[in-house]
Structure formats: C-alpha cells, structure tokens
C-alpha cells in the first residue's frame, strides 16, 4: 500500500482541481475547507513517505508494471521525498495566507479558479520531483509554466498581462531548449528514462562528444532561463512584482526552486559528474552564481518598488544555490539544498509580510515605510527577522547557509568565493537595513508613536509567524534539516 502512496497523492491533488469547478453553486467556504483537508492529507502522506524512504530505502513506482526501458516510472528516494515535503509544507502555509488575502487584485469570481490553478501547480511540481523520465519532466514542466503564468495574469492589471506574456515567452523558450536537449540525447541513447540515459551517455561520450556537449548546453540554458539564473533572470522582477502577494511567494519560494532541482537532476543524474567536470560546467556555474549574487544585490539597491526589490534579491539568492551546485561536491550540494529550504522560508516571509503591508496600507514604495513598524509590529517584525536572515546574522537560517557555503568553498579549494559571500552580506544590508530603520525609528505621517496591533486578518498573520519561527528554529538547530539533506545528497554519486 505504501508503494501506491505517491500516485495517490497525485490523484488526490488532481481530483481536487477537477472537482472545484463543479462546486460553483456552493458557498466558497466549502471549496476552502475541502482544499485544506486535501492539502493536509497530502502533507501527512508526504511526511510519512519521507520517514519511510529514510528508514527503509528508495523505491520505484512503475506505471502499468512495465520495465523502465519501455514504460514510465516514478522514483521515490530521500531526495524526491524531501523536496515534495518541502513544497507541500510551504504551499500549505501560503495557502492559509491566501485565503485571507485574495483581495490583492484578484476578482472575486476568480477565487475558485485561483485554487484550481494552485492544485494543478502542486500536482505538476510533485510530478516533476517524483518522475524518473526526461520527457515526462518536460510535460510536467509545461503544466507548471502555464499555471505559473496564469496565477500572475489572474490579477487583471495592465502590467500583469505584459509580465505574464514576457514570462510565458521565456518559459517556453526554456522548455523547448530543454526538449531539444532531450531530443539530442534520445538520438544517441534511444531512451528517455534518466538512469538508462545516464548509462547511454557514458558509452556515447567517447564516440560523439559534441552531441552530448550541445545537449548539455541546451538543457542547462533552458533550465537556467526558467530558474532565473543570473544573466537569464530578466523576466523575474516583473513577474514577481506584478503577481498577487501569495503568488509572488509561491513563485519565488517554490517554483524557481523546482527548476533548480531539475537542474541538479540533469547535471548529476543524467550527465554524471565525470562528463560535466570534463566540460568545466561546475566552474562556469560557480562564476555565474558569484556574479549573480553581486549583480542581483546591486540591482536590488536601485529599486523603488519593494516587491521588485525582493525579486532582484531572489536573483541574488539563486546565485548562492547555483554556487553550491557548482562546487559539485557533496558538501556543496548539501548547502545548496539547505539554502533551498532557508531561502524558501525567508523569501515567503518577506513577500507575505509585504503583502500584509499592502493589504493594510497599500504601500509599495520603499521610501514610504517610515514608522510603519508601530502600526504593524508583527508583520514588520517578521520582515525584519527575515531580512536579518538574508543579511546573514547569526541565529537565523541565512547565517547557517552562508557559513557552511564558505566552509564548502574552502573545502573545494575555492576560497575566493568567501569574499563574494562577505560582499553580498554587506550589499544585502545596504538595501534591507534602511527599510527596517525607517520602519521602526522614523516618524510616520500620522504621528502614531504608540504600538498598535496589526489590522490584518489572523489568517494572514499566523502563516507569517509560523514561517518566522521556522527561520529561527532551523537557524538554531540546523541539524534537523541537515540530517534529511544529507541522505538526499547521498542519492547522488560523486
């Protein structure tokens, strides 16, 4: 029965998405409760799967019972179980927030559709993480790109249409480049299953190296476009700033990470460490990551709109993950995975608390945050905590990632990247600290000097507080995450 659990999760998510439109006549509350129940069940089973694979080992799920040479299969190992758990946990918390903050530009009649899209999004992400087939990954990637664009354009503003269009074009270029890489690999191996392609590639590498090189370049560039790795990030700030707050949190904290996860799979499971080292892809990735860290922060300093600023900050933070992947060692990969968690949590706190500010005060300009800390102590307090995490103050999860990334870089003989980490900490401080100082130390326009309660619904504050608590918990006891991450890293061979 446990073997059927992953597919049951997928069916549950899909059926919920299909059933929501049939509920139109009922009250909206019914949809919300049903959605939450389904999310909770899936969360429980993802948690159980995580426990199961970590105690008894990985297993395959074969559709129709066919062998992987002719059929499709899902691979449930510590890696995929960990990241599905990550995705469902964050999405559940953001879901709670979104039930209260659907007012951010989404028309009332679109609420139901928003949750349909959310469930299909979740289904696609689960599929991408579980699947062990390159073409199947492509199919799920396309579902994911339509849904992510749709949760941007569902807010019917001028800018959203333009941002969604740019996003859909670049996304599609990315997926087609990926598919082109798959086609080139299919040409020489005749399989689409990841493990069989891996074996085929190792054999063919000697005879036709150019084919493998071109396939690798197309796949990495395509996934880099979708994951907003530095020079390919141009769509991200527009898309993330135009989207509704809960969508921004989903896009920035989860969706981009899913593409990075595929990138890790492609690099280490499809091509293998020997080939990518021979092509110098790791050192290239490290340089790209380092440049991304610095340039993303520089762009963020120049922004006036706070959501755009957070978007550019995401570009910088993706740089850390790319740097960790580029180290191509188990230490580097370990910290890249840890930072996926750490950044996912911190960035969702930032976007959600900014969303709360927009909900209560409708402020989007960075300069307008004077004295707002008195009016919304909880939201801005959590914003401060997450911003400190971004800067890398001890006791937060951001510090753990930076510290360990420095150690991993030293271990890999790449000590120069420690300078980048320090510089990026300073740059992060340059754009986050003024907001915090203004929020707590300046006078606000209404001269309110006493502290009052946030005037936002409890369902919006609770998720922010829970996520804020996580920042400190995994910052103080990083071993909780590291234990899981270590077993996920051990599924890749170096």
């Amino acid at each position: 029965m446990i073997e059927q659990l992953p597919i049951i999760n997928l069916i549950l998510l899909l059926t919920t998405a299909l059933v929501i439109p049939l509920f139109k006549k009922q009250r909206f509350m019914v949809t919300l409760i049903l959605s939450f129940v389904v999310l909770f069940i899936v969360w429980l089973s993802a948690l159980y799967l995580l426990y199961h694979v970590n105690t008894t080992g990985a297993f395959y799920y074969r559709f129709g019972g066919y062998s992987p040479t002719i059929g499709l299969e899902l691979l449930i190992n510590p890696f995929s179980a960990l990241f599905t758990f990550f995705v469902i946990t964050l999405l559940m918390i953001i879901f709670i927030y979104s039930t209260a903050d659907a007012s951010d530009g989404i028309h009332e009649r679109e609420y139901g559709r928003y949750y349909i899209l959310m469930f299909i999004l979740l289904f696609a992400m689960f599929g991408i993480i579980y699947t062990n087939d390159l073409f199947n990954t492509y199919v799920f990637m396309e579902i994911l790109s339509i849904t992510t664009c749709a949760i941007i354009s569902i807010k019917r503003k001028k800018k959203n249409y333009a941002a969604a269009f740019r996003y859909v074009m670049l996304n599609e270029m990315g997926s087609l480049s990926y598919l082109f890489g798959v086609a080139l690999l299919y040409m020489v191996t005749g399989y689409t299953n990841i493990e069989l392609v891996f074996q085929g590639v190792q054999d063919v590498w000697v005879i036709y190296p150019t084919n493998i090189i071109i396939a690798a370049i197309f796949m990495i560039v395509g996934l880099g476009l979708k994951a907003a790795i530095f020079p390919l990030h141009i769509w991200l700030p527009d898309a993330h700033s135009a989207a509704p707050s809960s969508s921004s949190a989903i896009l920035s904290a989860i969706v981009v990470k899913v593409y990075l996860i595929i990138l890790v799979k492609v690099l280490f499971s499809v091509f293998g460490i020997t080939i990518i080292e021979a092509l110098h892809i790791p050192s290239l990735l490290m340089v790209i990551g380092a440049v991304g860290i610095v340039m993303g922060s520089f762009f963020a300093i120049a922004q006036h709109d706070i959501k755009r600023m957070l978007g550019y900050s995401s570009v910088a933070q993706i740089g850390y993950i790319v740097l960790g992947i580029g180290l191509a060692s188990s230490l580097g990969l370990r910290i890249a995975f840890y930072h996926v968690f750490s950044h996912g949590i911190m960035k969702s706190v930032l976007f959600l608390s900014v969303g709360a500010v927009i909900y209560q005060r409708n402020l989007r300009k960075v300069t307008a945050y004077n004295g707002i800390g008195y009016m919304m102590p909880l939201s801005i307090g959590m914003f401060t905590l997450a911003a400190l995490g971004m800067i890398g103050i001890p006791l937060t999860s951001g510090f753990i990632s930076k510290f360990n990334l420095g150690i991993a870089a030293l271990d890999g003989g790449q000590g120069i990247y420690i300078i980048i980490l320090v510089v990026s900490g300073i740059l992060n401080a340059i754009y986050y600290l003024p907001i915090i100082i203004a929020a707590f130390l300046r006078e606000n326009p209404e001269n309110q000097i006493y502290v009052s309660k946030d005037k936002v619904p409890l369902l919006m504050i609770m998720p922010i507080l829970i996520l804020g608590a996580f920042i400190v918990i995994i910052g103080v006891y990083p071993a909780i995450i590291f234990d899981l991450v270590d077993s996920a890293v051990s599924t890749f061979s170096f």
Binding site: Q4, I7, I8, I11, L14, T15, L18, V19, P21, L22, Y61, R62, F63, G64, G65
Partner: protein
C-alpha cells in the same frame, strides 16, 4: 452568415463529420487515428456550427455547464480507469497486469483500457476546442 447555401450544407455535413470523428475515436486502437484526431474532428464540427449559426445558438446546443462537465469528465474518466488498475491489484494505469480482457487482436473490442482512455481523450479534446473557441469569440463580440 445568413447564407442559405452555407446553412443547408452545414446542416448536412455536421452529422457526417461527427460520425466520422466518433469512428476515428472508436477505431483508434486498430487503425491510424485515436482520441486526439477524432476529438479534433468533433470539435471542429462544433466550431463550424458556431461560425454558421452564431455563438448564441451554439451555446444553447453546447452550454457552459455541459462543457464544464465534459472537461472535468474526460480527465475523471481517465483517472477512474487508471485507479481501477490500483484496485485490481496492479499499478496505476495497468492494463494486462490488472487483468483487463484484451480481446481478439484486431477486433473492435480489444485492448483492455485503451479504447476507454481514447474515448476520455476524445471527449476532452472536443470540449477543449469548442470551449476555447467560444471564449475567444465572445471576447471579440464584447
């Protein structure tokens, strides 16, 4: 389009188009074709109806509610057949392994779940085509 010739010919052609679409869906497993091509044929016959008789009359024939049920229903059928495989001690979307009768090779009733899935895909594709067309054309007439 208030042309008597176009209207009469459309009336004459549509039943054959749809019949041919259904034929292609049902024979998808023993001849070229299948759910996508057959569904596309049925969908285009409905689009032809909309073009000739106007969107209001077409919506009466193929109302919003029907299209919604058809959209969800096509996939739900697919999922249900797949889940039957789990119930019959196989895996998701099992065919022979779950004990579905395969029938005689080359006959209409063969292939276990394959014709059923083809019907699900056909419903889905036809309803998708017509719904998208209606949405786009209504936007224009606004």
């Amino acid at each position: 389009m208030n042309d008597i010739i176009v209207k009469s010919i459309t009336r004459l052609v549509i039943p054959f188009l749809q019949l041919y679409g259904i034929y292609i869906i049902l024979h998808g497993h023993i001849s070229p074709g299948g759910g996508f091509s057959g569904g596309a044929l049925i969908g285009s016959s409905l689009i032809l109806y909309t073009l000739v008789f106007g969107v209001d009359r077409a919506q009466k024939k193929f109302s919003h509610r029907v299209s919604e049920i058809a959209e969800s229903g096509g996939i739900l059928l697919y999922l249900f057949v797949g889940a039957l495989g789990i119930a019959l001690t196989g895996n998701f979307l099992s065919n022979k392994a779950a004990g579905f009768p395969l029938g005689e090779l080359g006959s209409l009733l063969s292939g276990g779940i394959i014709p059923v899935l083809m019907i699900g895909i056909g419903i889905k594709v036809a309803s998708t085509m017509i719904t998208l067309f209606h949405v786009l054309i209504q936007e224009e007439s606004q």
